[in-house]
Symmetry: C2
Subunit: 433 residues, 2 copies
């Protein structure tokens, strides 16, 4: 009976892999047509600098980064990081691809920072439109109201730095087809059509975070999560390496203690508050952690909280939960345990991702390689074991949850996972016909 279930699961995974490859191929063909940026409208009137014809970008693309200290070099202050010994090889950033899921108050600033830092490629996901109500945060401007956020973001970003390749997806990743496309872009979205380097989650809801988590566990994709509280005065970033750190489903997400009664926040008809300060700080932490990870300098943080009322910044590390509800998380945990058992020396943090191959490619569809002699998986931190000032956003999920115990958001996420599997099986069987 247990074997049957495992067999079926493996088959579903195989089928979903094939289906994704098929969808991925057509998606690639779509994205191979290069984006033609509209000229930035500012060009037409306010430029006091060298003349630029309407409908052409402000400057030509730059083939190779230079550290030359001249006013006209957009990279001199970044290449100085190299000369000052902070970063060994800053130019490596041009080969990196980062996906940003959600380009609202945090994600849009994250995308702008990475663009100005000269990242190789950005893939932006959002289904929302710019509204005047968003003008209390950085990045979007009033005249962009009504445009889709990803299109508005691309228009600005290609103008700010034409060297960066921007791919946008104006959809909600939690619906079936979009989730499949999302996974395809993780697998084939890089500049060399291979696995991307990092996913940054800048979304504002539980379902979207669970979708990112599910995809990254399945794809063995390192990602970072971010969030700001509904009262606008706290936030956090979290680094998630499947199997090594807690995934988003392992333990409830940590929130910074806000001293605000939760009931106040949840009152009906009250919109969430937001501040450009908190969002820029969280975006700054997230992109700084991204640069440290991609360019291998400093210390990549696992969790940094920000309590703006007290200027309090808890740091934390959370081990994965051996009883996590996500089967792919448990698989990654076993893989990780096996790896460290074979390599007693701790694996370097912030690995070089120039060769973004998965370590056990032949095992990514559910085949277990776990060694019975491997050390016991690490214990998950208890809810009371987190750093001072931190608490979980809700009570930990019980290990064998009854359907009626699930929050609407958890149930929705579970439904999504289930319906994706069913749909994949159905579509795959139709393809075979």
């Amino acid at each position: 009976m247990k074997e049957d279930v495992e067999n079926l699961t493996r088959q579903i995974d195989e089928l979903s892999a094939r289906l994704r490859e098929a969808i991925g191929r057509s998606s690639e063909q779509m994205n191979n047509a290069p984006y033609q940026p509209k000229a930035h409208p500012k060009l037409a009137t306010t430029s006091a600098a060298p003349p630029a014809a309407k409908n052409t970008p402000y400057r030509q693309k730059i083939e190779k980064l230079s550290g030359e200290v001249v006013d006209s070099n957009p990279y001199s202050r970044l290449m100085a990081l190299q000369r000052m010994g902070i970063v060994k090889d800053y130019e490596k950033i041009r080969k990196k691809t980062v996906a940003v899921v959600g380009v609202g108050g945090v994600g849009s600033v994250v995308a702008e920072m990475l663009t100005r830092c000269g990242i190789g490629k950005l893939i932006l996901f959002d289904y929302d439109k710019v509204e005047i109500a968003n003008m209390n945060r950085l990045f979007y401007q009033p005249n962009q109201a009504g445009l889709s956020k990803v299109e508005a973001a691309r228009d600005t970003l290609v103008h700010v730095n034409p060297d960066v390749q921007i791919e946008v997806h104006n959809f909600n990743i939690t619906t079936m087809d979009n989730f499949i496309t999302f996974i395809d872009r993780l697998r084939h979205g890089s500049l060399s059509n291979s696995k991307i380097d990092l996913v940054l989650s800048c979304v504002d809801n539980f379902e979207a975070r669970m979708a990112v988590n599910m995809a990254c566990n399945e794809e063995n994709q390192i990602w970072m999560e971010s969030g700001v509280s509904e009262n606008a005065v706290s936030g956090h970033i979290q680094f998630i390496e499947p199997g090594k750190t807690a995934c988003f489903a392992c333990v409830p997400p940590l929130v910074v203690a806000s001293n605000i009664d939760e009931r106040t926040l949840k009152r009906e008809g009250v919109c969430a508050a937001s501040l450009p300060t908190t969002m820029a700080v969280v975006a700054g932490f997230l992109v700084m952690n991204t640069l440290k990870f991609l360019l291998n300098f400093g210390e990549v943080s696992h969790y940094v909280g920000y309590n703006a009322l007290l200027d309090f910044f808890p740091r934390e590390s959370i081990k994965p939960n051996p009883s996590c509800d996500d089967d792919h998380c448990k698989l990654r945990q076993r893989e990780y345990q096996e790896r460290i058992a074979n390599e007693p020396v701790e694996i370097d943090f912030g690995p070089d991702l120039d060769e973004p191959e998965v370590l056990h490619e032949e095992n990514e569809w559910g085949i277990e390689l776990v060694d019975e002699s491997a050390p016991a998986p690490p214990k998950v931190e208890s809810s009371s074991g987190v750093a001072q000032g931190l608490k979980f956003a809700y009570d930990p999920v019980s290990k064998t949850p009854e359907e009626e115990d699930l929050s609407p958001a958890q149930a929705a996420a579970n439904d999504l996972m289930q319906s994706i599997k069913e749909k994949l099986v159905e579509e795959a069987s139709q393809q075979k016909k």
Copy 2:
């Protein structure tokens, strides 16, 4: 002999006050002509929202803030702070005036944040031009290269939020005439032509910081200092209330330990590095502290450091130095001691500034009211007494420095102070003729 010196100093102060008033009046007349914003060029082409004729702002000014939760309300997410109990009266922000000195990597983002938060009035000071080499930081765009930073900033900010009054000064505050105009704007720059609420220093050099410090000590003006390191991976903010906290001249400025050899940073021909991440984080801390101070919520921080390599955030308070070289600092210290001696209960931090009258208006030109029975002034913290991870940017200034011991920057600041006094006496005596 000592009395003579004190007498002369007092006379100089009186003369400088009169001179400033005279200059202030003409400056006010200049600034009374309302600014006519150019239409934001984006309007012409990318707007998919309600049509706006060329050369008109995107939206009309809003007379009264509303908390209504509709997409078209730019203040709904800010007014939610009030409904959530974070801020008692958010609308008070519309009466506040903040000066931002330096609108580069930190100051431009600070100005944008305050604009999006709906501050009443901003006064921007900078003498620099936008360069393509600045494009690795947020805010400015490539087509603005060559424009003065304050003009470029105003063009963007009036477009982002037409409710905010923006006054700009395209000059270096460390030259004589400009310093006098700077002081005048602190005294008369508010929306009601009275004292402004706060000065934010976002400059990148010692001389400008000393000039801000000198002006704020003289005017008894609360201000905040900010800075980022030359290697781009650390920064800080500091709250300075004359007489209560250390001023910028009391002790050497604190820097976050960077683990980088100073000699590496000072090598000739190496430009400073900068990152949009560090600068946005420092800007976020600074404006958050500003909001807490202006709107009286949370805990105003005296000093917050940011070490990006380790995500380490030292907090600190530094008492003023009774032997500070700045005479106005010492006067403010005596005033503060007298105040707390008369009011044994600690004065509230983050006072309500709706009535921005100085406490001892009749004394602001140097007349001492110090009570001989007042408690001894607090000791300055020793260099080894600062929080872990912090160190001073240079060795503390000796209490009676010999001219040859001064760094070029300190000497320049002293020269400035001296030449301003001389020039004031000279100009005032000419006025009398």
